[in-house]
């Protein structure tokens, strides 16, 4: 297990210095989506919907063993094969053995952050299987050899000019083609991939435990096509992604869509309840792989377990003023923004993930956005506390806090210190951290200037 702490700061600083165009693209995309979310929340009683969804998801987490068993039985009863995978490696191995047993050479995929989390594409490619992403943004990222920068909009960071150049080179579109022309070119190309594919791999937005139904929401129709044309459909699903009843989706999916893009509902909702029977269309086999990969450990940690209530809408990313400057790449793993920062120590381990909990001003914009009311800033503080307890803070941090607390207990010295600091900080500041870090790009106020 990699325990090298993720260095968000260095990656973020480099991106800001070298790629101002990425910052612009991310800012534009997230501000637009944030506006859409506000509109989406404005014409429902969003507080009541969020209360409901929060209770629903917490109820599922509190009874996850029960609902997993129920879902497993219901899926099997529908003719869907259920697999259980302990970690990333086991998940990839399950998919690979399905591919080998069934002679699968070509795979198409729907957008799935779980597959990023478990690094499924490299595992398939290493086994000589051709993998094609079919979500337009994801396809673009795959062509560019990059990783998604946002859990909903994988290509939010890509300036249009870059996409145009990439498509011109790879698909022969004319230089400066309109986005709609790029999409049309991609569709034409993807159509052949769909027809040649043996297997479609998706995630799932939810699984209804009572009926054993896989729910998938999308805007482009690619998941609808892939889950209809390929002879095998494999859904890799985190164990937490359950709802008790099919009817719960009637509220949860609209809330998810509103939070993510402000839509009343995504353009396509597929409710998949088994392989084809006598119908001419549909897959011969449907498989669900329930993936743990650290989730049950997080579930057994009550102060942090609410993290698993997440429905991956991306609203907290769009609301986050820190994410807005850099996008997801500097977070250096599948999930970014506030949810990525609280999932990282939970799923990757404290040693590797704690640094992401620093990538926040604790402004609370994420708390106000989250459709399932995950207390994100509270969880960020929780991980900061655990990092401090584990002695992981930057050297000097703990002594500094202790010194400051000692000083604050002695009012006379404290007031003297504030006066001295205020008067002389602008002069000695450049020499001592943390003032020297403040002075990167900012001045210190002159205490006696009368303003």
């Amino acid at each position: 297990m990699n325990i090298e702490p993720i260095d968000y700061r260095t990656a973020a600083a480099r991106l800001l210095a070298e790629r101002p165009d990425i910052r612009e693209a991310i800012t534009r995309a997230t501000l637009a989506k944030e506006d859409r979310r506000r509109e989406g929340y404005a014409d429902i009683d969003s507080e009541a919907w969020r209360d409901w969804a929060s209770r629903l998801r917490r109820h599922v987490l509190a009874n996850l063993d029960y609902y997993l068993e129920q879902a497993g039985r219901a899926l099997e009863a529908n003719g869907i094969r259920v697999h259980w995978a302990e970690d990333a490696q086991a998940t990839c191995a399950t998919v690979l053995s399905l591919c080998h047993e069934r002679g699968v050479r070509r795979v198409v995929k729907g957008k799935s952050m779980l597959s990023e989390e478990i690094e499924l594409n490299p595992a398939l490619e290493a086994a000589g299987i051709e993998v094609t992403e079919t979500d337009l943004g994801e396809y673009l990222i795959q062509l560019a050899g990059e990783r998604p920068s946002h859990i909903i909009g994988p290509a939010y960071h890509k300036p249009l000019s870059e996409s145009q150049a990439l498509f011109a080179e790879r698909l022969g579109t004319p230089a400066g083609a309109e986005p709609s022309a790029l999409a049309a070119a991609a569709r034409k190309h993807l159509r052949q991939r769909f027809l040649a594919a043996d297997m479609m791999i998706t995630g799932a937005n939810a699984i209804a435990a009572d009926t054993g139904t896989i729910a998938l929401v999308e805007n482009e129709g690619n998941i609808r096509i892939g889950t209809t044309t390929a002879r095998i459909h494999v859904a890799c699903v985190g164990i937490e992604k359950l709802v008790p009843r099919l009817t719960d989706l009637g509220t949860l999916l609209p809330l998810l869509s509103r939070a993510a893009t402000g839509q009343r509902l995504g353009n396509y909702v597929s409710l998949i309840s088994g392989p084809r029977g006598a119908e001419p269309e549909g897959p011969d086999e449907v498989h669900v792989i329930f993936v743990d990969n650290g989730r049950s450990r997080l579930l057994a940690d009550p102060p942090a377990a609410s993290t698993l209530a997440c429905i991956r809408c991306g609203a907290c990313l769009n609301a986050c003023p820190v994410f807005r400057q850099t996008g997801g790449h500097p977070y250096q793993w599948a999930y970014s923004g506030p949810i990525g920062a609280v999932l990282a120590p939970g799923l990757l381990g404290l040693e590797r993930g704690w640094t992401l909990a620093q990538a926040s001003t604790l402004c609370g914009a994420c708390d106000a956005a989250c459709p399932v009311r995950i207390p994100l800033s509270g969880l960020l503080r929780l991980w900061r506390e655990r990092a401090a307890q584990a002695g992981l803070e930057a050297p000097g941090e703990a002594p500094a806090i202790r010194a400051y607390a000692r000083l604050a207990r002695r009012p006379h010295r404290f007031h003297m210190a504030t006066r001295l600091l205020g008067r002389f900080a602008p002069w000695f500041g450049p020499l001592v951290p943390p003032l020297s870090r403040w002075l990167r790009g900012r001045t210190l106020p002159l205490r006696n200037r009368n303003r």
Binding site: A405, F414, T443
Partner: protein, 261 residues
């Protein structure tokens, strides 16, 4: 979360409270260190309403830096010490939304359920919110006439204290025009230790805010942290902006009344 109206009903009388009240003014570390004038200005505004204002010398830091950086025990200790030191006030007023939120909203969950300090915590107010909604202070009419002003609320004042509208209300009562700001609700990038742990991102956040500013005479905020961040960045970039603590602008308005007399 506390919910109380962010804007008092318009009243005819300037002061709707008993002037025998004692107000405990808690300066806050940042203002004490870098903006002592804002504390003096806060005091002038509070005294303008005829109340007795005192600053207990034992008062130091609200503990937020420790609490938010993974040392909640230290934060709790400092917050309770501050509450104890200011308990004699009928109201406890801070010229900092962030410190006020720490004492009023973030501290009670750290206390025992029957702790008497909960009552002290309930007396805590951010200065401008206190002036606007509790004592119904109104600046002299037209004292800021013709001024075009932009207001920034710190995130804790905005979300935890629901203080949005208070500064705007007082400025408009003084005849100023409060301008719309596209990114008004966005964090300025201060965030205490964040500003020094991730200086590059912090500065980028301040730039976003500053770049979205409309043409104005002045930017005001009731939060010293945000003030330090926005003013420090604007000065480094040489933007020639005037960015002030809200108390300082209102004190200037108040002085026009006193000059008249």
């Amino acid at each position: 979360m506390h919910s109380y109206s962010t804007r008092a009903p318009d009243i005819r009388h300037r002061y709707a409270y008993n002037p025998s009240m004692r107000i405990c003014l808690v300066p806050g570390c940042l203002a004490e260190t870098f903006y002592p004038q804002a504390i003096r200005d806060s005091r002038i505004l509070l005294e303008a309403s005829g109340a007795e204002v005192f600053v207990p010398p034992q008062v130091t830091c609200c503990g937020q830096p420790a609490w938010s950086n993974g040392h909640p025990a230290v934060g709790r200790e400092l917050a309770t010490a501050l509450l104890d030191a200011s308990a004699a006030g009928d109201y406890i007023v801070l010229p900092s939304g962030s410190c006020a939120a720490m004492l009023r909203v973030f501290t009670p969950p750290l206390l025992e359920t029957d702790s008497p300090r909960r009552q002290i915590s309930a007396k805590v107010h951010e200065l401008i919110e206190f002036l606007d909604t509790i004592v119904h202070y109104r600046p002299p009419t037209n004292s800021l006439a013709g001024r075009r002003i932009v207001v920034h609320h710190g995130c804790h004042a905005r979300r935890e204290l629901a203080a949005v509208g208070t500064v705007e209300h007082l400025l408009e009562a003084a005849g100023a025009t409060v301008l719309d700001w596209k990114l008004a609700a966005e964090c300025c990038g201060f965030g205490g230790s964040f500003a020094v742990n991730l200086p590059e991102v912090s500065v980028a956040m301040a730039d976003r805010k500053l770049d979205a500013l409309p043409q104005c005479d002045c930017v005001v905020t009731p939060d010293p942290g945000c003030l330090m961040q926005l003013a420090g960045r604007a000065e480094r970039r040489g933007l020639g902006l005037t960015i002030r603590h809200a108390a300082s602008l209102l004190r200037e308005a108040e002085q026009m009344r006193q000059n008249e007399h």
